[in-house]
Symmetry: C2
Subunit: 95 residues, 2 copies
């Protein structure tokens, strides 16, 4: 089993809020369906939202730790952080 980061209460709350938005859940699902990584453009191709809104959601997901961003020239790649998601699930399952 992979090592599980410990989540603070604040991180937990951030993740919960990030997951509460259907659009963000959908982005994570897209990532998961593609081995965890996609370009921002590829994600946007599946969702009818403006670049501004997309940028906003990406930031929410990143600040929750659920994705990581890397830049490649003018492109942006987004990678699902499965350990963070798993840490969240573990914590919730302990209720």
């Amino acid at each position: 089993m992979a090592k599980q980061p410990k989540l603070t209460d604040a991180q937990h709350a951030r993740i919960a809020r990030a997951l509460a938005e259907p659009r963000r859940y959908e982005i994570l699902r897209q990532l998961g369906a593609e081995n965890g990584t996609l370009s921002c453009t590829a994600v946007r191709a599946e969702q009818k939202i403006t670049p501004a809104t997309m940028s906003h959601h990406i930031h929410e997901l990143e600040s929750a730790g659920l994705i990581e961003i890397s830049r490649d020239g003018k492109f942006m790649n987004i990678t699902l952080q499965r350990e963070i998601l798993q840490a969240y699930l573990n914590r919730l399952s302990k209720i």
Copy 2:
């Protein structure tokens, strides 16, 4: 393994939103720490909120399916629905 109810997209979204509020997460934790059932009054004793706000949160949790409510005279008992929570976790873990 216990039987897992299937969650619709709408149920999933409702649960995610219910869990996004720290106060509601806290209520679920209280329930979990007490074998899954508590009176509404007992829950309220731990949280500094008015009855009206409490009532609101209880309804959110109930409509998400995360708790069940039963009445006993003028009292209300709240029971954690672990299968629903587990079904949500299972679905999230499949991302």
